[in-house]
């Protein structure tokens, strides 16, 4: 009888021990799985964050590139009267070095600096082409290309960073532009060079009634990568 009484309690104890071991094992397993999942999440989050930081860098670079400008020309009004004004112009190459300068007088009160803008796949290039005033028709203006045309290469885009091939491409583009604009020979109405090159002109200027260029102040002709042209005082 005593043996029978002892056996059920021993059996119960064994069962209880077995259940405890199983429960502990389950808890350990669940705990390990949770830790593993957390580690995987942490690694995943770190990789995702790295990608996001890459995107941020690219966006910041794109924004900076949009703000890139070149300054091929600076000018200053030397004197101004009701009917005449005089100004000095300086041209700069791709390295920022001065390559030419001149001074002239014109009839008129508003000064126009005309440039030809050539849109390209990687941005736009602008070539100052003439200076005229409100009183002088554009075709009577002063040719600017003459001052930076060095053996067919536009000095304002030349740079020590360019190789021979790039210089050759630049020369060909400049030649096409001059031909299309009729600066080679006559500017006949049907110029075959015209349709070979897509370009437009932009003559930036001051406005007598609103804002004139101040005598003695240096202004920059600023070219944006998308082809916009702006005048900024220094």
């Amino acid at each position: 009888m005593k043996a029978n009484q002892k056996n059920p309690s021993k059996k119960l104890q064994k069962e209880h021990k077995h259940r405890s071991i199983s429960f502990k094992g389950l808890v350990k397993t669940v705990f390990c799985v949770i830790v593993l999942v957390l580690i995987i999440l942490a690694v995943g989050a770190a990789l995702f964050l790295r990608e996001q930081q890459k995107i941020i860098k690219e966006l910041e670079t794109s924004i900076e590139n949009l703000k890139l400008t070149t300054v091929p020309l600076r000018f200053m009004v030397l004197s101004r009267s009701d009917k005449e004004l005089s100004a000095r112009f300086r041209f700069y190459d791709g390295d920022g070095k001065e390559i030419a300068s001149f001074e002239r007088s014109w009839n008129g009160s508003d000064l126009y600096i005309d440039s030809l803008v050539v849109p390209l796949k990687t941005g736009a290039m602008a070539f100052p082409v003439r200076v005229f005033t409100d009183a002088v028709a554009p075709r009577g203006g002063t040719n600017l290309m003459y001052y930076y045309d060095f053996n067919g290469i536009p000095g304002i885009y030349d740079s020590s960073r360019l190789n021979d091939q790039q210089r050759q491409i630049l020369k060909e583009l400049f030649t096409k532009l001059k031909t299309a604009e009729g600066l080679y020979g006559s500017n006949a109405a049907a110029n075959p060079g015209e349709r070979l090159l897509t370009y437009f002109g932009n003559a930036v200027h001051d406005i007598k009634q609103l804002r004139q260029f101040e005598v003695g102040t240096i202004y920059s002709l600023v070219i944006h990568t998308d082809g916009g042209i702006e005048i900024l005082s220094e």
């Binding site: 941020i56 075709r139 437009f200 009634q209």
Partner: protein, 297 residues
Amino acid sequence: MALELVKKVSQVIVFLVSTPLGYIIDGGILLLFLVFTLSRALHRERLLAQAAGTTFGAAQKLFVCIDALGRLGASLLANLPVLLIMGVISLSVVAIGETVQKVEASLEAANRIKELQAVLRNLERSLKVAEIRVLSTQNDRTTFEITFFDPANQQSIAETRTISIDGRDIYIDAIVLNFDYSEIAAGRKVNIAIPYRVFSDQVAQINGISLGGVDSKGIPYMFHRADDDIYGIAPEIYRERLKELVQLTSSDTSARPAGIVRSYYGSALHKRVSAGDRLELRVEQTGGLTLRERFPF
């Protein structure tokens, strides 16, 4: 609050196990513990030797130290499961802390990306100001139709006019106002262009054709409208814009209030045209105007 605490604890653990200074601190704590353990053992044995009236020489000291280190090692082995559990818990805390940190950083990065995308979008914007349709170029005289648009609503036509002028290279002259990049990037301002005159390669600007005339403040009359004639924009907003333009352009000091206006000048876009040409005059949000060709359908 609980998450912050977990983050802080995680940072401390990571610091202690992955940085040179952390290693130095860990080493320092271990060294202190060892010194304390050995000092205590040596002190106890010295007292026992004194009580027993025996000497406590160098050999005994060495033996005591080795014995103390041995006991320490045995104690560590005996408590290995506890140490492992503590290690796993620390790893869990670190994993939770790192995950929380990375998720927060990721949310910040997502906001930053959204901001930068908006800035890029604003700077890349190009708004149509006018459309030109060339009707004829006979006898070296160009006739064209020019349609003006409200930059705020690209579908809203402000006016259409037909103009004839001598010459084939047509100049559309406009007043241009460029705001600072910060204003454009934030979407607070858009660069403004107001066409006000047409001339050509043969016709000087002073003899050109006024586009509806300009008032005493230099603002084209075409932009002064009765309420009923203003389309696509609320009249009060339209007038507010004109007022803003007048204030900004009326004098040297007001034209650059707090550096908001970057530049203000005239810009005459031009192109040698042929009959059938269709062109768009656009104001770029990086600054200045551009001309695009729209080939006939």
